[in-house]
Symmetry: C2
Subunit: 138 residues, 2 copies
C-alpha cells in the first residue's frame, strides 16, 4: 500500500485526484498506476483500470486470480466491475469513498471469490484526498 500511496502522490502532483494502485503477483509488483483522467481526458483512466490492463499485459492473460490489487481509495462502480471481470484474487483498499465507492451503489459487484481487505493505511490514503480537495477550494 505504501507503493500505491507513492503512485497517488504522483497523481496529486500533476493535479489529478490522488489515487494510486499497484498489482502484486507472487510477491512481485507487476503493475503500478495512478489516476490520469485529466491528463488523458478520459474518464476511464482510473488508477485501478490502468493497473488491471497493465497487469494482464505483463501476465499475458486476462485473469488476476492469483494477484492482489492495492488501491488507496475504495474503487468506484466502474473499477469494481473491472476488478470482478478480472477475477482479482484479493482487493486491498485504504480509504473508504462514501460518495462514489462501489459498496454504496453495487455492493455485490465484485467476483464472489475476491477477498476484500479494507482500511489499510486508511488515514494516510484519506489524508491525501482531503488535502487535495482542500487545496482545490482555496
Amino acid at each position: 500500500m505504501k507503493q500505491a500511496l507513492l503512485e497517488a502522490q504522483k497523481a496529486g502532483d500533476r493535479g489529478e485526484v490522488p489515487v494510486g494502485a499497484v498489482v502484486v503477483c507472487k510477491d512481485r509488483v507487476i503493475a503500478r498506476a495512478h489516476n490520469l483522467t485529466e491528463t488523458l481526458t478520459d474518464v476511464t483512466a482510473h488508477a485501478e483500470m490502468q493497473a488491471i490492463t497493465a497487469a494482464a499485459s505483463t501476465l499475458g492473460g486476462k485473469y488476476l486470480n492469483e494477484c492482489t490489487l492495492y488501491v488507496t481509495v475504495e474503487p468506484c462502480v466502474m473499477c469494481a466491475g473491472a476488478i470482478a471481470w478480472a477475477q482479482t484474487g484479493r482487493l486491498v483498499f485504504g480509504a473508504e469513498d462514501e460518495k462514489r465507492g462501489y459498496q454504496r451503489y453495487a455492493p455485490h459487484a465484485l467476483h464472489p471469490k475476491t477477498v476484500v481487505v479494507k482500511g489499510v493505511l486508511g488515514d494516510e490514503c484519506a489524508a491525501l484526498m482531503k488535502n487535495f480537495f482542500a487545496g482545490k477550494r482555496r
Copy 2:
C-alpha cells in the same frame, strides 16, 4: 443501433462476444467500437469503454453530456460506471443482460441526468449473442 450491430458482428467474426457500440453527437457518429477483450487480453476492453474513450478523444473533453451511446447489449456494471463518469446524455441499448447487466447489480449507477432507452432492435441484438454462444457450445 444498426451501426452498433455492424460493430457487434465484427466482434463476433473475430471470436469475441458480439457487442458493438457507437457514440453519436449532434447527428454525427464520433466513435465506433466493438468488444476486444480476447484480442487485447484485457477485461476492460468492452465496446462501451472503447467508444467512450474514443468519443472523448474526438471531442477533446471528458464529458459526453450532449451525446448518445448506442450499445447492442445492456452495459455491465463497469461500463455503466464509465457511462456515469462521462455524464452521457443518452444511453440506448438493445438486448437486456439479466446475468451481467447493470440493472441487476447497480440499478442506480448511471448519472441521474442520463436518459435511458431500452429494447431498440432488441431481438436482433439478442439473436447475435444467442447464436454466438450456441456456436461456442457445439
